[in-house]
Subunit: 146 residues, 2 copies
DNA sequence: CTGCTCTCAGACAATTCGTCTGAACTCCGG
DNA sequence: CCGGAGTTCAGACGAATTGTCTGAGAGCAG
């Protein structure tokens, strides 16, 4: 059964972040999975033995939430993200919109733009994206006219 | 002592939403406060007696978080929001940025724009805001040049 | 067979959250 | 003065969440 939106906890996010960074480093090719031991070494560099089980538990929960994919192989299982950073951003933004603004994303966008922390380069990039969408919409509309 | 950022729960948000709507309705003048009884009537139209205490507890917690202001008056205390809807949006967006994107708000903005759920009107409004900021930055720069 | 690594499965404590109970206070009408 | 209604004050409660931890068992290399 498809579970409703589920967020991830801070500790789970730390684990996901390790997977995302690993996959970014292998963007050119197929990233190999990451083992529990490898995640431990990143998150708890000087960790105790029990932290292995902590990461294990966190991965179990992430898998149950559909955010992580497990591949059983010897000698150790390997893990991949099944939810990208951008997908999580989207989920969380939608959640904020739904709960605080009646579902509308516009107030979020307005807030971000008016926050004035954008550099002029960022604003230029944003304009370029807007132009692209306008062009896309126009082309689609023309296509449909037939 | 100033507490770190604290989010509000869904039930607390429902209470805040009542205050925000009430204050929006009185945007032209000083909004009178809202009583617990009034909040109950909105949130639990056909409620049991215990729901009075639920709203009370939620207001206590919101007050402790600094999100609500209480004014003691007779016959009942009245409440005002001390955190606007837009401020909550900002807090939540910053929280997402901090936890998921290393603090940068740009991926959030990019996500919203590329989400393609913006109407052409919204995109036009966004461009207009960007133009205004560019103009503001230019004016500030000119002024500084002396 | 032993030791190491890993899997599997659960327990645990602290915290959060929404709900609820009950004592006490205030005010007002009779 | 008393009773009733409404409200405040203060806490308890159960369920769920969350990060941590324990322990049995499996697999493998030496």
């Amino acid at each position: 059964m498809s579970a409703p939106f589920q967020d991830v906890t801070d500790a789970e996010l730390a684990v996901l972040d390790v997977l995302w960074k690993h996959e970014d480093e292998h963007a050119q090719d197929q990233a190999p999975g990451v083992t529990i031991r490898e995640i431990c070494q990143v998150l708890y560099p000087r960790g105790k033995a029990s932290e292995y089980a902590t990461v294990q538990k966190l991965l179990d929960r992430l898998e149950a939430k559909g955010c992580v994919e497990r591949r059983r192989q010897s000698p150790a299982h390997v893990f991949f993200s099944a939810l990208s950073r951008d997908e999580l951003i989207g989920r969380r933004l939608n959640s904020v919109a739904k709960k605080v603004c009646g579902g509308s994303l516009t107030p979020l966008l307005t807030h971000l733009v008016q926050n004035q922390e954008l550099t002029s380069e960022e604003r230029a990039a944003l304009r370029s994206m807007l132009d692209q969408f306008d062009a896309t919409k126009k082309t689609r509309r023309k296509g449909k006219k037939k």
